[in-house]
Amino acid sequence: MKSAFIVLVLVILTSAAAAVWLRKLVHAALCLTATFAGLAALYLQLGAEFVGFAQILIYVGAVAMLVIFAILLTRNAGMTPEVRWSKHSGIIGTAIGLLVLGCLLISLSASNGIRLIAANTPEPTINVQRMGEQLMTRCVLPLEVLGLLLTAAMIGAVILAMPEKHGEGLDSDGRKIDEL
């Protein structure tokens, strides 16, 4: 069990580091996908089946594709341009990293899970059915709010992508394009 954990962590850290350092953006995106998959494997190893599969479905299947589309649809898709590091960028980067770490540590130590582990409570058996019941009863408000947020984001994206009214359905020569 422990060796599996070490192997997974090594894979995750290596691919994450590669995602940061590789020169080609597409390579970086593929390494990031590998990191997502590794995290999913970590969830599975911890016995969180549903979260692990959802992680693969959403991150490997959708988020990674979004990243790749974003890279391919912008210019300079091949290489990252040569970056001139300023003198302070190292210090600023470290500071931001430490800040994020601090935030995570504070919120983690405040969470219920740490106390439960410390008190050696037996881990509850979580199956999909119980998670569904919780989502539909106790957590129904956050779920609805999330749904509303995503719907708003989607409508915004559709409005951004909508063609201008005056030239609708016409090609560059002003001829009408058949749709279906």
């Binding site: 549903f50 479905l57 999909v128």
Partner: protein
């Protein structure tokens, strides 16, 4: 009884030959070997069936030179693929180009792990089996992109973009049409879903999901989306030979090409198996009393699977290829709303459980058919059929 259980007993006997520490590992190894063997054979058979079937549809005999009735054609194909030169373009991204077929085939093969092939004949019964199936299926998009981008060929990249756009668009109706089944059977486990379709009305009409109004609509939506997900005709735009040579597979040759081909077929088998499990009663016999006869349950399962494969081949021989915009319109404006409406209908079906059967059927059919007709009419309203003008082809 022996016919039914010999596979499970054989596995148990083989596992017991080993010390207790190794037994879980050996058990998995046996399952993996059987799955790979069975589906690799099915792959060979399916290529032959497809070529023969397409041949008959096009009024020609199909392969008939190698062996009796051309039966050894898959063997010849296999040897040809294995001995062909493996060409990698000089400008290709060597590592990604090499990895792409593996990233495609490995997850697709994993998908077989949760499908119940027969009574007690499921490699692993996961609590969230259906989610596992879709999770591993989503890796195919990454593989298509890797293949298309790493080849450094415009046709490859075009094919990859088409493939990804198509898979993302059709994944939604595919998944949502299965949610209806989850709502009725109350489980994500495929074994539980098959169990929910046990028995029959009057011992004659099986309780398969496809024989309910929501199940029929769900099955049709699922099958259409599955056609697109496995890049089969009429949705074979990602590899449309007449437009973009071979899509993301253009720069692949030899055994790597065979792996892509195999991945596509395996995807087709897996999704047909899932359709069988979700809507066609899984390993249950078409008539409930036949379940208690000598015929083993996996025979029924593979019979249904082959029937679905036949429909795949039949459609390929019959329908012309769609255009990209038609494909997208079809998925987002037609299939997805219908799949969502189907969710409402399945709720309606569930809450009218105490009604007489005819009334339930009529209500649900109307609830499905009215939006179907309305959507179709709305989408076709402004279509005027006249000679077309294309920007680049005059």
């Amino acid at each position: 009884m022996l016919l039914e259980t010999w596979l499970v007993q054989l596995k148990q006997w083989m596992v017991n030959l080993f010390p207790a520490v190794w037994q879980p590992g050996v058990g998995s190894l046996v399952s993996v070997t059987v799955i790979l063997g069975v589906f690799a054979t099915l792959f060979a058979v399916a290529t032959l069936l497809e070529r023969k079937g397409l041949g008959r549809i096009q009024n020609r005999p199909g392969p008939n030179r190698v062996g009796p009735f051309g039966l050894f054609q898959p063997v010849a194909d296999g040897i040809k693929m294995l001995t062909k030169e493996d060409i990698v373009p000089l400008t290709a991204d060597q590592v990604v180009h090499f990895l792409a077929p593996i990233v495609l085939l490995a997850p697709v093969t994993l998908a077989f792990a949760v499908i119940p092939f027969g009574r007690n004949l499921v490699p692993i019964d996961l609590d969230a089996g259906l989610l596992f199936f879709f999770a591993v299926g989503s890796a195919a998009e990454v593989a298509a992109f890797m293949a298309g981008w790493s080849s450094h060929n415009k046709y490859s990249l075009l094919g990859a973009m088409r493939a990804i756009a198509q898979m993302i668009s059709f994944e939604l109706p595919l998944v949502i049409s299965t949610v209806a089944v989850i709502m009725m059977s109350g489980s994500l486990s495929l074994v539980e879903i098959v169990r929910a379709q046990d028995g029959g009305v009057f011992g004659l009409i099986p309780r398969w999901h496809v024989l309910t109004p929501w199940g029929l609509a769900g099955f049709l939506i699922f099958f259409t989306a599955a056609l697109a997900e496995s890049n089969r005709s009429p949705f074979d735009l990602p590899e449309g030979e007449s437009e973009i040579i071979g899509g993301f597979m253009t720069e692949y040759s030899g055994f790597k090409y065979a792996l892509f081909f195999m991945g596509e077929y395996f995807g087709m088998f897996a999704v047909s198996g899932l359709a069988t499990t979700l809507f066609l009663g899984g390993w249950h016999a078409p008539l409930p009393f036949l379940d208690r006869t000598l015929v083993p349950s996996f025979v029924w399962f593979f019979g249904k699977l082959l029937l679905l494969l036949f429909v795949f081949i039949w459609l390929r021989g019959t329908l012309p290829r769609l255009r990209v915009d038609q494909l997208m319109n079809f998925s987002w404006k037609f299939l997805l709303p219908l799949a969502l409406i189907n969710l409402l209908v399945v709720a309606l079906w569930r809450f009218t459980a105490s009604w007489p059967l005819a009334g339930r059927w009529a209500l649900c059919l109307v609830a499905l058919a009215a939006p179907f007709v309305a959507l179709g009419a709305a989408l076709m309203r402004h279509r005027h059929w006249k000679p077309r003008h294309y920007r680049y082809a005059r």
